[in-house]
């Protein structure tokens, strides 16, 4: 048939292979409690939680253009939500994490009403101020331990497993399931109507608005979803630590700076970028983290170089160079003869 008709598809052989690879990884990680020791489980738990934060930050910044340096606000709220519910209600901690995340997502709507009044870098700094307000406020409330913080009640920890090993496995599986839900949540949002609206806004906000895209509402959806996921991740991070203080829960360097570096190095605004960044970060962490301040200095320098010479990061570079795309997110045009 000699028709010149063309079609658009998101799939290619690479995306099929990548999906198989994702499936294999999921099986390997899901079965990890059967084959991995406690140390590996803890490392993987850390990895999953950081990866979740990185993907969420990228979703907010890379896709919705809401450059926040205050995501520690939601980590901290999720953590405090878990500890407060555990102390005062005796619910299972995983249920508490879920309830806390819903509450934080609801809280993020008035936050957005306030912060969306400022644009660009001013939004960034005010998101940071908001996180500082929460940190300073937590220091004031004696019911949640003031500036010395609070510990998870023993009964709450026991609810996850009587032995520490069982507890680690439970938290590991919870972190893994949370990551899967966050990744698929972002993935399906990007494929949905909201995802199309985001692409339109990113390419030209004015044109998108004049074509009937409600830019503020679209950004609000992303902001609230990100708040929900970040709070859940924050709850799980501190469930593993068993203790929370205002300074550790609302820490910009732990929950935002490192996350920014991962995403920027991997590739901001690409789905795969934060994953690559987080993998690299965890591979290097064992060897480089001992250098303390020098480690942070070199991360900062690498991030600056990437932003100047290659703003789409490692993955953006690979993708543009070889026209690769692992996940079926962007449409590509095929003529019928090709397929």
């Amino acid at each position: 048939m000699k028709s010149n008709s063309v079609s658009a598809t998101r799939h290619s052989r690479t995306t099929h292979l990548a999906l198989v690879f994702v499936g294999v990884c999921a099986l390997v990680f899901a079965s990890a409690p059967l084959w991995a020791g406690a140390n590996i489980l803890r490392l993987l738990t850390d990895f999953f939680l950081y990866l979740s934060l990185a993907c969420l930050w990228n979703f907010l910044v890379g896709y919705a253009g809401l450059v926040s340096i205050g995501q520690q606000a939601f980590v901290g709220l999720g953590a405090y939500g878990l500890f407060t519910l555990s102390r005062y209600t005796g619910l299972n901690p995983l249920v508490s994490v879920l309830i806390a995340s819903v509450v934080v997502a609801a809280l993020s709507i008035p936050f957005a009403a306030l912060l969306f009044r400022l644009k660009g870098a001013y939004f960034a700094i005010s998101s940071w101020v908001l996180a500082e307000v929460l940190r300073l406020t937590a220091q004031f409330i004696p019911q949640i331990g003031g500036s010395s913080g609070m510990s998870l009640p023993i009964e709450a920890a026991r609810a996850l497993g009587a032995q520490p090993a069982v507890r680690f496995t439970t938290i590991y599986l919870a972190a893994f399931i949370a990551l899967l839900m966050i990744l698929s949540g972002i993935y399906f949002t990007l494929q949905s109507r909201t995802g199309l609206a985001l692409t339109a806004i990113r390419d030209n906000e004015l044109a998108a608005r004049s074509n009937g895209v409600n830019a503020n509402r679209t950004k609000l959806i992303v902001y609230v979803l990100t708040a929900f996921g970040t709070a859940a991740t924050g709850g799980l991070i501190f469930l593993q630590r068993l203790r929370v203080t205002p300074d550790s829960a609302f820490s910009i360097s732990d929950w935002t700076a490192l996350v920014i570096f991962m995403v920027v190095i991997g590739g901001v605004g690409t789905f795969e970028g934060p994953i690559i960044g987080a993998v690299l970060f965890f591979l290097l962490r064992g060897t480089l983290a001992d250098f303390g301040p020098f480690y942070m200095i070199s991360l900062g320098a690498v991030a600056i170089l990437i932003m100047i010479y290659n703003p789409r990061g490692l993955w953006g570079h690979v993708r543009d160079r070889w026209h690769l795309q692992l996940l079926p997110l962007n449409f590509r045009i095929l003529s019928k003869q090709d397929s």
Binding site: L114, L118, G120, A121, V129, V133, A303, I304
Partner: protein
């Protein structure tokens, strides 16, 4: 009368915040750049003054003669070498580059000077005060700092309104392409704006280091106070920014008088309140 003292103290402190803020709003006005490392560069100036006062045995006020030119030059070079490459339609690179710079400076200072609290010593001036009546006393040092702050802002205002450089800055700020057609070198003008911005904040950075302790992690708070003063006063209004700084300083002083832990939080809350009720700022022109 205790309250009058508190308000006066806050006003004096607010002058310094206004200087942080003027530096921020100057570069935002000229090239729409927000420098996240602003606060860390303020702290860097304080460490520079510390080295100079210790090695040369001079007074912190004298050290300004060396600190300000150095930091202004650093600003010019940073703008030409780094920030000029990030300017464009994408708002991400300038924010993330200055964020990276902020982390580098914080950790660099930590390596060089350790995390200990430092302070600049200004001798007998620190405790001298001016008595007005029986109950009101104004510290000579805060008063001097406030006068310097207002003087610096007046000089900046005159520089922007009356000189050729100021005309260039205004031209570049109004219309980049047209300014270039008229023979201004935009990249150079951006460098000049950053040099002025950091020169002014270096003065404030050294002055505030005589008044209270600083450590490598003090930068972000300085950035936030400057930013809050800009928003409270209203973006793009030099006198509004001065008043915004004073409002912030007074609110912090009153908060601190109620409960020392409440000082910083009170300032943040007033900032959020202004954002909620009057996003164009208290003294800004309504958009």
């Amino acid at each position: 009368m205790v309250w009058l003292n508190t308000v006066i103290q806050g006003t004096m402190l607010g002058g310094l915040y206004a200087m942080f803020a003027i530096g921020l709003s100057l570069i935002f006005g000229v090239m729409k750049l927000v420098n996240i490392a602003h606060g860390d560069l303020i702290v860097l100036s304080a460490y520079l003054a510390l080295v100079i006062t210790q090695t040369m045995g001079v007074d912190p006020f004298v050290s300004l003669l060396i600190v300000v030119p150095i930091i202004a030059t650093v600003g010019y070079l940073l703008q030409r070498g780094l920030f000029n490459r990030t300017l464009g339609d994408d708002l991400l690179p300038p924010i993330l580059v200055s964020f990276g710079l902020s982390i580098i400076i914080q950790n660099g200072v930590l390596v060089a000077f350790s995390g200990d609290d430092r302070r600049l010593q200004a001798g007998p001036l620190e405790v001298a005060s001016l008595r007005i009546g029986d109950t009101v006393a104004i510290g000579l040092l805060p008063l001097l700092q406030f006068v310097i702050a207002v003087a610096v802002i007046v000089v900046l205002h005159l520089l922007i309104r009356r000189t050729k450089t100021g005309r260039g800055l205004r031209a570049v700020s109004d219309d980049q392409a047209m300014a270039q057609v008229m023979g201004f070198n935009n990249r150079h003008m951006y460098g000049v704006a950053m040099a002025l911005s950091l020169g002014i904040t270096a003065v404030a950075g050294v002055l505030i280091a005589i008044r209270g302790n600083f450590d490598p992690s003090a930068g972000p708070a300085r950035l936030i106070y400057g930013f809050e003063a800009v928003i409270i006063g209203g973006v793009g209004n030099i006198w509004g920014t001065l008043l915004g700084g004073i409002v912030l300083g007074v609110v912090q002083a009153i908060g601190g008088a109620i409960d020392p832990r409440f000082q910083i939080l009170a300032g943040h809350l007033v900032f959020l309140l202004v954002l909620a009720l009057r996003p164009s700022g208290l003294f800004g022109v309504k958009a």
